[in-house]
């Protein structure tokens, strides 16, 4: 009897958790769509979008350059020692370019932006929530979603593909550094392989991924910050800390999960 009760309780708990997660996903989706459509509502926010693009995109350039250079170099190094075993080191350009454009570029760009800008979004909006600044916007008849979230969505949709493109290009040059400059593969062979192997679909697929990641990252980070006050784990500064942590962890995990789903459709 006790075992039956324990089983029932476990099932009920699982059911509750599942319902909560589905409701939360619904809330997140509504949050995104509201924020997205408000980009096109009056009053338009061009200056805020430019400001956020500068923050999310421009200010991430350095970290993207740094990580893409080393990612490309590692790919070049690892690729060379693997390909040389089969006597096909000339294919290094293809290996580096395809890995970067299809997978690593969009994923690593998203992860880097989460760390640099996503956490900042969650923390900033969270602090605004707990210090009643979002309530103040509402009392002034300013839509907080339009004021805070829409410009960030627009800026992310612009910044993520551009940063991904930058990551891809610099990563390919990183692979060239190790493959050609250090390990002696001819420059012409390396770049001709890049040119011949990369198809337009690969680039489009990479951009689709980066756009989806932009939506995931900006929505999760803004959503966590916006609803900081509803968190039960902690209030005030602790609540903001929980929101920021959860925004970073959840969006990073979701980037990897959606990457797998998208890859399985795009391949």
């Amino acid at each position: 009897m006790l075992l039956l009760d324990a089983g029932k309780n476990l099932l009920a708990g699982l059911g509750r958790a599942a319902i909560f997660q589905i409701q939360e996903m619904g809330r997140i989706a509504i949050f995104f769509f509201k924020g997205f459509f408000l980009i096109f509502s009056f009053p338009l926010q061009p200056f805020k979008i430019i400001e956020q693009t500068y923050f999310i995109g421009m200010k991430s350039i350095f970290v993207i350059c740094l990580t893409s250079t080393f990612t490309g170099m590692v790919l070049g190094l690892q690729g060379y020692y693997t390909l040389v075993k089969f006597g096909s080191e000339g294919m290094l350009g293809s290996a580096v370019a395809l890995s970067l454009i299809r997978e690593m570029g969009p994923v690593l760009t998203a992860i880097m932006v989460i760390g640099r800008a996503g956490s900042a979004m969650a923390a900033e909006i969270g602090i605004m929530r707990i210090s009643e600044q979002i309530d103040a916007l509402e009392t002034m008849d300013i839509n907080p979603l339009q004021f805070l979230v829409s410009p960030r969505i627009a800026a992310s949709l612009v910044s993520f593909p551009l940063l991904t493109a930058l990551f891809d290009v610099i990563g390919i040059y990183g692979g060239y550094l190790t493959g050609s400059v250090l390990l002696g593969i001819g420059k012409g062979i390396y770049f001709s392989r890049v040119e011949s192997s990369v198809q337009m679909e690969d680039i489009t697929g990479g951009f689709i991924k980066s756009i989806v990641f932009a939506i995931v990252v900006v929505t999760i980070c803004c959503f966590r910050g916006y609803f900081t006050h509803t968190r039960t784990e902690g209030f005030g500064a602790k609540g903001v800390s929980f929101s920021t942590t959860s925004a970073v962890v959840v969006s990073s995990v979701l980037v990897l999960v959606t990457d797998y789903i998208l890859t399985s459709f795009l391949l």
């Binding site: 210090s131 009643e132 600044q133 103040a136 009392t139 002034m140 300013i142 004021f147």
Partner: protein
Amino acid sequence: MNSPLIQLKEIKKSFGDNHVLNGIDLSIYQGKVTTIIGKSGGGKSVLLKIIIGLIRPDSGSILFQGQPLLEMKKKKRSALKKKISYMFQGSALFDSMTVFENIALPLKETTSLPADRIRKRVNGKMEQLDLYMINNKYPSQLSGGMQKRVALARALVTDPEIVLFDEPTTGLDPIRKNAVHMMISDYQKKYGFTGVIVSHEIPDVFYLSQQIIMINEGKTLFQGTPEEIQQTSDPAIKEFIYGFEKETNGLVGIALPLQGEKRFEEKMAKLKHRQPAFSLVLLTLQNLDELNRKVSQNILRKIVLLIKNSLRTTDTCFRYKSNRIILILPNTNEYRARMTCFRLSNKINDREISETKQNPSLCFSLAAGVAEIKENSSLEQAITVAESRQNIICNFRAPNPEEEL
């Protein structure tokens, strides 16, 4: 008076088990300043947030010029919101914006005024509020008082028809406080806005307001003019506005019946969550009614002091009716409650009540009854049980002169 501009009917709001508003009814009239007073944590700020629509009430209705706010269409509600300004208790300034940007924000975002007119209006408002040379400063670089004035400037910059002030003078020095009061008063006369102020500044708000509303225990206790509230004979209102305890409750540190009832409810809620048992002790001073009022008050005060000294810090002692004192003893079963009564009677019997010396005819007794609280029993039921079990634990009478010799 004319028909009310804003009317709240039977507004209820709870946050979990905390019932903040238990059926508020009030009316706010156009062109008048209404001040809401009441104890801290009594739900005054929640009430303001309900009026402006930041918090949705659990039940009840809010009428704006007779039209229910909660049923209004979005467009209409938005148009109404444009007429209202709100000044937050904690200022709620945007900390990443300068003072100028903060004040200009509502104009920039909700009007189509050109930049130079916005600048002119913001500068004018800042000048009126003695906010000089701080245009480019950030809120964190300002003192608390200055932040309040910036928040006030932001609330008034749109020339609203209704302004809700949530404790506008908290944290200000007396000079600034008077300046803010004067400014609200002057502005109200000049522009004729309807003001709703939540404030503790008594009696200052009586000179500033045309209407006073007092809320207590989540209900409207009083609504009337400042003159009426000052002449009221209601002891609860007098106690609040004059800042002293009622004569009948002029006992050192003894809680009021309402506080006691609240404590009982808290303990009962914990009992429902399988917390340890608690007991109620009913102490009745018999024959006290026959004594002179002043003498009986003194006796009661002394006995309460003796009782309070022998209680634990978690125990609650409150007055119930004229001659009854109730003790709520957490984590105490009936046996331990009886032991508490026994110790109490020993302690009281050891002491001398001086009034008995001065009044040879004085003769009264203290009876005690114990009830261990069961789930779902009310305070009245517990009192009835304790009353049926009452025994006299102390007798007081004037010492016999012969015994003294």
